[in-house]
């Protein structure tokens, strides 16, 4: 079992003829993901590495029965791609694109309220279900199947921590990179709710960072969970008012500080790792509790 994605998922790649789209479509196929098609307006009828290309998402859905989409469309076209996927009835959309204007994402957010589509990202590495495949750009070889759910706002930090978990013999049920933008489709709390219901998941690792209040919101929900959560917060040394790479990683006034997030998690009885190297031991401890 897993959340969001499993062996039955049929994935299309929006923007498959671009450099990134093409490269990562191959990577997804290699991970075992069933990539059934791609879209690129004007390139309908062609193929990319044997994958059929369509002009629109609606055509791709009609021809392939796709039920998930991964977006590699450039920033100014990405909002259109997300709304197009929702309109075509795709239930799961993972948007990798970084740098989408905030006004566009606010429009997307209002639009998606009318659709049952689950958006993950944007500005995220996607998700992986070890043993079933991935949707996105995560290096698949670092994963191992198991019972720990993983959620993070960051890409490469996810790879670091997952590698540590795998190295310590701790396998993962599903790993979700929710994205580093201020406006994202799926938050920590959404993932925690799903992991709580997922029979394969026994514990969750949540890697947060400065900015916003997603971690605090999650901390308010965690006491209602039966499954333990281990936390980590990045950006303890970040100064206020500076955007630390991710558009969403910014301390505004007194909100969004690492100290505030650590305190909120600790108040929810969540063990918070001082460094990423402490995460595997904390996971082992909560699993044996």
């Amino acid at each position: 079992m897993s959340i969001f994605f499993d062996r039955s998922s049929r994935v299309i790649v929006q923007g498959i003829t671009g450099r990134e789209g093409q490269f990562h479509a191959k990577g997804m196929l290699a991970s075992g993901t069933n990539v059934v098609g791609g879209t690129s307006p004007g390139k309908g009828g062609t193929t990319v590495d044997g994958i059929p290309v369509f002009d629109t998402v609606a055509e791709a859905v009609a021809q392939t029965g796709a039920n998930a989409s991964c977006i590699f469309v450039p920033p100014l076209g990405a909002a259109d791609a997300i709304m197009g996927a929702a309109e075509a009835g795709i239930p799961l959309t993972v948007c990798i694109t970084e740098g989408i204007p905030v006004v566009d994402m606010m429009r997307v957010s209002a639009f998606l309220k009318q659709y049952p589509t689950r958006l993950i990202g944007p500005n995220c590495p996607g998700l992986a279900t070890p043993g079933a495949g991935k949707v996105g750009i995560m290096p698949y070889h670092i994963f191992s199947p198991g019972s720990v759910g993983f959620i993070s706002r960051s890409g490469t930090l996810t790879y670091e921590v997952v590698s540590l978990l795998t190295g310590a013999g701790i396998g993962q049920s599903s790993c979700i990179g929710i994205g580093g933008d201020p406006i994202i489709g799926t938050t920590f709390i959404d993932c925690l709710r799903l992991f709580e219901r997922d029979p394969q998941t026994d514990a969750v690792v949540m890697c947060g960072e400065i900015g916003g209040s997603d971690e605090e919101d999650a901390a308010a929900y965690i006491p209602q969970m039966t499954k333990p959560v281990v936390g980590f917060i990045s950006g303890r040394t970040a100064p206020p008012g500076k955007r630390m790479g991710h558009a969403g990683a910014i301390i505004s006034g007194n909100t969004g500080t690492a100290a505030g997030k650590v305190a909120a998690l600790q108040a929810a009885n969540v063990p918070v790792a001082e460094t990423i190297f402490d995460i595997p031991d904390l996971v082992k401890a909560v699993l044996h509790r």
Partner: protein
Amino acid sequence: MKIHEYQAKEILRRFGIPVQPGEVAQTPAEAEEIARRFGVPVVIKAQVYVGGRGKAGGIQFGDTPEAAREAASRVLGMDIKGLTVNKVLVVPKLEIREEYYLGIISDRNSQAPVVMVSAAGGVDIEEVAAKTPELIIRQPIDMRWGLFPEEARTMLARAGMPHVVIAKGGDILAKLARAFIESDASLAEINPLALTGDGQVIAADAKILVDDNALVRQSEYAGWSEPEEANPLEFEAKAAGLTYVKLDGDVGIIGNGAGLVMTTLDMVARAGGKPANFLDIGGGAKAEVMKKSMLFVARDPQVKGILVNIFGGITRGEEVAKGIIMAQAELPAHMPIVARLSGTGEVEGRALLADAGLMWGSDMRDASQKIVAAIQGR
């Protein structure tokens, strides 16, 4: 991106909002000429990218054109919070009866622009929010239709504004919402919105921040960007396409991925060092980008050593190693460099570093300890 008050007012004017007239001067003589043309008394307002310029003496008055010239000569060249004043906005002094606040900010919780209005204008709105939050009326904009004038008027009425301000200000607020959305703002403020002695409702001061992600389609505003003297390196980094934040310490830090770089800063701090910067080379960087980043970080005179932390996925270790070696040839010989490469191309990259006699760390912690030790001479 920050823009100046006069530029923000220009945007408002284009959307049909009544704005206090005025012009920018870069010399005292220009200020005098503008004062003659618009009529005295005038206000001389420093155009700098920081708040609190009034308290710092950056707003002065001139009752005659000559006095305007003198006021401008005092303000031009003034240092406000580390920034030099190079331009002043010269405006005829308004006879202001009341001051109000209109603002729109992109809000991550409601995933929409949130409109804030208050009858307590002219002061720092954050102070009002902290001390008397009940004086601020807040409402998100529904991005499907924007903000209607009637919705805007209802907000102003709830904030307790007089009839004339509800009528004229409602129109202004609806236009401000359009300006916010169509200019890709992340903040748009009119503070104060002035009710004048002769019954005009007019933007007396304005502040707009433009979303950096949207500058590709707001090319005119992108061209308004000016270096902040307080952060010249950050300005240059942006122009060079690097994601760089200047910090206060002496350990230069480069990595791939924002979360990883932030975590590396924390690790260096734990090892007893002080990070000099944040630099994210992004995904798939080639040797040239790595070299450019190394040389860039080293331009900060505080930097005494550089730590490179790469988790390779689409970024290849040997490309990173080549970039480091290319940069090392141009860096001071005594500058310690520690690299940690993991993932794709790790073995090849390490071999290159070993041949060049460079230090590496087995993981992020080991590398952080090594660079701090090298800098502190342990």
